[in-house]
């Protein structure tokens, strides 16, 4: 819930700066390893946005796959968990190198 409130705060601030009447759409990017459940976020958002410029905004969530990099053979591959084995050399020395992003990509505002 506090995550949903952070989003509403951030988009409302931006929308006010741009002189918006309301926000019609919010695009988010959520990495697979960001620790965020898009479904829960969608559930919480209307409550967090009530009474704000984002009250009727559509929440578009783009999920991005996470990538791991093997410390032993250097190959890069998609991962969904911290505990992974390199598919090429079976090493467990895999570092997650992307997929923890959690961004507000853009907002669409209506001037009205």
């Amino acid at each position: 819930m506090s995550v949903a409130l952070s989003i509403v705060d951030a988009v409302e601030e931006k929308a006010r700066l741009e002189g918006a009447g309301r926000i019609s759409e919010i695009e988010l990017v959520v990495g697979r390893m960001a620790g965020i459940q898009p479904e829960s976020l969608k559930f919480c958002f209307p409550a967090a946005a009530r009474g704000t410029l984002a009250e009727d905004a559509v929440l578009l969530i783009e999920e991005r796959e996470a990538l791991g990099s093997c410390a032993d053979c250097g190959s890069t591959f998609p991962v969904s968990f911290y505990l992974v084995e390199c598919p090429r050399c079976r090493s467990l020395g895999v570092r997650v190198v992307s997929g923890d992003e959690f961004l507000i990509q853009s907002i669409t505002i209506e001037e009205e």
Binding site: I36, A47, L83
Partner: protein, 279 residues
């Protein structure tokens, strides 16, 4: 993560000294400085979350799309870095203690603080949803302590720490222990500005906990297995737990202790003293 649990906005957090009842309500500095926007939402919660899909008729008028590319946790992360800079400038070592409720964080502090207070000044920030019980326990040791009551919130955030530190005024060269709200999920996401995250797990919990809560163990720098005196009575393999923790956090420092009997505490304290010298 937090959005799964229905916790409230951070503005509800209340700072308390040990023994202070519910009356002492500080004026709420919602935002660190100059933050103009106010939290006017959030006190609803009567469940109006049913319109998940909005069918908007745009009536032919295209809205204006504005790129933001902004981290959702930016405000927290910026403030955490400010806290971190303050701690570094004061030569402080700041530890963020995390665990499920009842793993023994407060008891560990009750053993750790007396052993270190002759070496270094110690101060404590206690996080709980309600009561000053933990702050009272720590206050009884005679060290400065502030209780942060998060109300419905399930984790501490950087703003709460920023406010608490202003109230606490910790000494230069000191050790600051932050005891987070008992929760293995949300606190993993919120940087407070600490130097190290210390996760406490007890043998009554299950040795697969690092796999069930990988984000927390991935973020942790130190893991302390507590209540090892109970190992003969429970289905728990310390070795399996350690392996699981290492799998999700490859370079975690691992300690096995019984806060009750004092077993293993010396290794933890020695390591911490060494770490204090390096700060």
């Amino acid at each position: 993560m937090c959005d799964t649990c229905g916790c409230g906005p951070e503005g509800e957090a209340v700072l308390r000294r040990p023994g202070e009842g519910s009356g002492h309500n500080h004026e709420h500095h919602h935002h660190a400085e100059g933050g103009g926007h106010q939290h006017l939402h959030g006190e609803n919660g009567d469940g109006h979350a049913h319109h998940e899909v909005h069918h908007h008729a745009h009536e032919g008028r295209a809205g204006r799309k504005i790129g933001m590319e902004q981290d959702v946790l930016r405000e927290n992360n910026l403030l955490a870095e400010r806290n971190r800079g303050y701690f570094e400038a004061k030569h402080m070592l700041v530890l963020n203690f995390l665990s499920s409720p009842g793993s023994g964080k407060t008891s560990l502090l009750e053993k750790t603080i007396p052993a270190l207070r002759d070496v270094v000044p110690v101060a404590v920030i206690e996080g709980d949803q309600q009561t000053t019980n933990d702050a009272d326990r720590i206050g009884a040791l005679g060290v400065p302590v502030i209780q942060v009551n998060t109300g419905t919130g399930c984790h501490l955030d950087a703003l709460m720490i920023n406010r608490a530190v202003k109230e606490l005024e910790p000494a230069d060269n000191s050790l600051l222990c932050i005891e987070n709200v008992g929760n293995l999920v949300c606190p993993a996401m919120f940087d407070l500005g600490e130097a190290l995250k210390v996760v406490v797990i007890s043998v009554t919990e299950g040795d697969d906990k690092p796999l069930k809560y990988p984000y927390m163990f991935h973020e942790a720098d130190v893991c302390i297995l507590n209540k090892t005196d109970l190992l003969p009575y429970v289905e728990f393999s310390a070795e399996t737990c350690r392996e699981n923790a290492m799998r999700v956090g490859h370079d975690i420092e691992w300690f096995e202790v019984s806060v009750k009997t004092g077993d293993g505490l010396d290794q933890w304290l020695d390591w911490l003293k060494t770490r204090l010298e390096r700060r």
